[in-house]
């Protein structure tokens, strides 16, 4: 296999891995606080929608000359904020109204797709569901670092600022979850909310915090997903929200394992998208879809072997009942 293909596969693996990490960390915060979050997909879509719509307006409608850095940062902020707004709907239903968290999640997923397509048709001049933007964010060579043999071309060529951001978020999340008072309280609310409540931790507040963090990270994840691989958003994030859920389970709700799970999934999907360029895989005659389904099959197998002693937070999915035991 020649090195160019290898590097190309690694680049794609990173592009895929970064949003998966960030979104599944979002899912982690929500589930650690005790709220099931199958709405990650919907929040990603809403984030990607708002972010790309902003870029579309800046570049095509208002025609503001903005440096790529500023544009990207503003886009990320808008996507994050949108994710938070959407997550509030989920939080209100599942925390205040003690509703079925799965149903509310499904509703948000459905709403997001329909809303993104409907609004894009109404707002873009072409009246289509595709929101185009000029992708000006690629960094061809990171100064100095790209000269490192092998690792340089792998990680520091054709890269995006978003990749670095994803890694920073991972490190910060791990720190927050395990080394801060907030993280401890959050985890307590997902394991045994009555115990947390009895020592004065507000379960409602902590769960709101968990769901809001998940909305923020998932919303941002929508942009992290779309920017490296496309120059238009069409109302879909290709099931990455659900894949991030698989990463979360595969990664046993732990940040460092989420990193490995996301890398594994990223590699599989990267191979699936480029395997016709890899001679020995092409000769095997395996359909690309079999690579695409590997992450899901692997997750099912892992679940089958670990769910008896599941790593999932114990109280996840249950509305908090003060009078419960």
């Amino acid at each position: 296999m020649n090195m160019a293909i290898f590097y190309s596969i690694m680049h794609w693996a990173v592009y895929i891995m970064i949003p998966l990490i960030v979104v599944s960390l979002g899912g982690m915060f929500s589930e650690k606080s005790g709220v099931v979050n199958i709405a990650l997909e919907g929040k990603m879509i809403m984030g990607a929608f708002a972010g790309t719509m902003f870029m579309y307006y800046v570049q095509n409608v208002w025609q503001i000359a903005m440096s790529p850095w500023l544009l990207l940062i503003c886009t990320l902020i808008i996507a994050t904020a949108t994710g938070i707004v959407v997550s509030l709907a989920h939080a209100y239903a599942s925390i205040n109204l003690r509703a079925n968290q799965v149903i509310s999640g499904i509703a948000i997923n459905m709403f997001a797709v329909a809303f993104a397509i409907y609004t894009a048709r109404a707002l873009t001049t072409a009246g289509s569901q595709h929101i185009h933007y000029r992708n000006v964010f690629r960094i061809d060579n990171v100064p100095l670092l790209h000269r490192i043999p092998i690792l340089g071309p792998m990680l520091f060529q054709n890269t995006y600022f978003t990749s670095l951001l994803g890694i920073i978020i991972l490190a910060v999340s791990a720190f927050v979850l395990y080394k801060t008072k907030f993280g401890l309280r959050l985890r307590a609310c997902g394991e045994h909310p009555q115990a947390a409540d009895s020592v004065g931790v507000s379960v409602t507040k902590m769960r709101y915090a968990g769901v809001i963090l998940s909305g923020a990270l998932a919303g941002m994840g929508g942009i992290l997903y779309i920017v490296p691989i496309a120059s238009a958003f069409s109302g879909s994030v290709a099931g990455y929200g659900f894949l991030a859920l698989a990463v979360l389970i595969f990664g046993a709700w732990k940040p460092q394992r989420i990193l490995f799970a996301a890398f594994f999934f990223g590699l599989m999907l990267s191979i699936a998208s480029q395997f016709s360029a890899i001679p020995f895989l092409r000769d095997l005659g395996i359909h690309a879809n079999f690579f695409r389904m590997t992450p899901y099959v692997a997750t099912l197998i892992v679940l089958a072997f670990t769910s008896k002693n599941t790593a999932a937070p114990k109280a996840v999915g249950q509305p908090y009942d003060k009078g419960g035991r």
């Binding site: 239903a93 109204l97 079925n100 509310s104 948000i108 459905m110 099931g239 879809n289 679940l303 769910s307």
Partner: protein, 366 residues
């Protein structure tokens, strides 16, 4: 009619009205001048002609089946969001049989295709069932996984064995492999020029869906088996104490749920109107089934009506495209309905408090 049923029905109406209201607001915001026109179209188009009525029934067929699938699982304490995968497998099976068993007499072939599709759906539903029963895997998560695995497998199989490159979808079935129309084409039609008719493709599928709903009603309400399944859903510990084999029931429930979705897939793709796409996209029918199930209060007979209602809204929504709106507005309405369904219990309590007083029911003390 008891108080609870009335309250459930009223809360369903409230949820429906809330969804429609938000839909109307969205129409208003996007184009105020024709919003009312579009809203009226959504509400009335399905009944504006006998052919449209046929199309409503045609569109209702698959979502009644997935609605039954979701509701049956829900009644037994399981959340089957894997209906879309089971539906796809059923559809695929029917398509493959429709193409390859052309030596069989037409009537026999269609029966065989439907039976095999039902079995395929049941098998795909059995996976989350088995994992739940014996490995304690939450069915929502395993259903998400099996949905995607199923999507990739089905797309691969369509691509390999029944692909029509001209349209990028599955090959159209030979006419004899489609469901009979039972003379419906003489009823559900409109004369648009003297002697020329626009005909609805509604067919035997809607009757099969209604029969399926009745059978599910009988299983759930009139048999010991159904009672056991529901007992597991209400309180699994009590059911276990009563000597009910819980694991067997979980698997059986998921298989029946999958079978319903699988049959739904077969009914859609043998209606002569749809070809299966060969791109990796999850089919919407399983998810629409969730809203149909909740809107129909998870009652098999209610689902016949809620499925028809949702189909009715979709038909009207599609019609608004001529006014420059897009059909997604109906999906927004439906997603809002599902969101409110999440706390339909709350709506019920609220109604019970404020309206229940005004109504008198037999057996009420107050």
């Amino acid at each position: 009619m008891n108080r609870d049923a009335v309250m459930s029905f009223l809360s369903s109406l409230v949820v429906l009205a809330a969804g429609l209201l938000i839909g109307f607001i969205i129409l208003l915001v996007s184009n105020a001048s024709s919003a009312w026109e579009a809203f009226r179209t959504i509400l009335t188009f399905g009944f504006s002609g006998i052919r449209n009525v046929g199309d409503v029934l045609l569109g209702a067929t698959p979502i009644i089946m997935t609605g039954l699938s979701v509701a049956f699982a829900f009644k037994t304490g399981l959340f089957n969001i894997g209906a879309t995968g089971q539906f796809a497998f059923g559809g695929l099976t029917a398509i493959l049989i429709g193409h390859n068993f052309t030596g069989m007499p037409d009537g026999l072939r269609i029966v065989f295709a439907l039976a095999a599709a039902t079995a395929a759906g049941a098998l795909w539903g059995a996976i989350p069932g088995l994992l739940k029963a014996f490995r304690n895997v939450h069915e929502v998560i395993s259903c998400i996984m099996t949905n995607y695995i199923g999507m990739f497998l089905v797309t691969f199989l369509i691509d390999r064995y029944a692909f029509n490159p001209a349209v990028g979808k599955s090959l159209a079935l030979p006419e004899g492999s489609n469901l009979p129309t039972l003379g419906f084409e003489h009823i559900f039609r409109e004369e648009f020029l003297p002697g020329f008719y626009r005909v609805s493709r509604v067919n035997a599928g809607i009757l099969i869906a209604i029969i399926a709903a009745v059978i599910i009603y009988i299983i759930l309400e009139k048999t010991t088996f159904g009672y056991e399944l529901k007992a597991c859903g209400f309180n699994k510990d009590a059911a276990k104490y009563a000597g009910i084999n819980q694991n067997r029931n979980i698997v059986a429930s998921m298989m029946i749920s999958g079978a319903l979705a699988g049959l739904g897939g077969a009914l859609l793709y043998t209606s002569g109107t749809e070809a299966m796409g060969a791109s990796n996209v999850l089919l919407p029918y399983g998810f629409t089934g969730i809203s149909v199930a909740f809107l129909g209060l998870n009652h098999p007979i209610g689902i016949i009506f809620s499925g028809s209602l949702v189909s009715y809204l979709f038909l009207g929504g599609a019609r608004t495209q001529v006014m420059g709106f897009s059909i997604e507005v109906v999906e927004i309405v439906i997603s809002v309905i599902i969101y409110f369904c999440a706390f339909v219990f709350l709506v019920k309590t609220f109604l019970g408090k404020h309206i229940g007083k005004l109504l008198r029911f037999k057996g009420d003390n107050a």
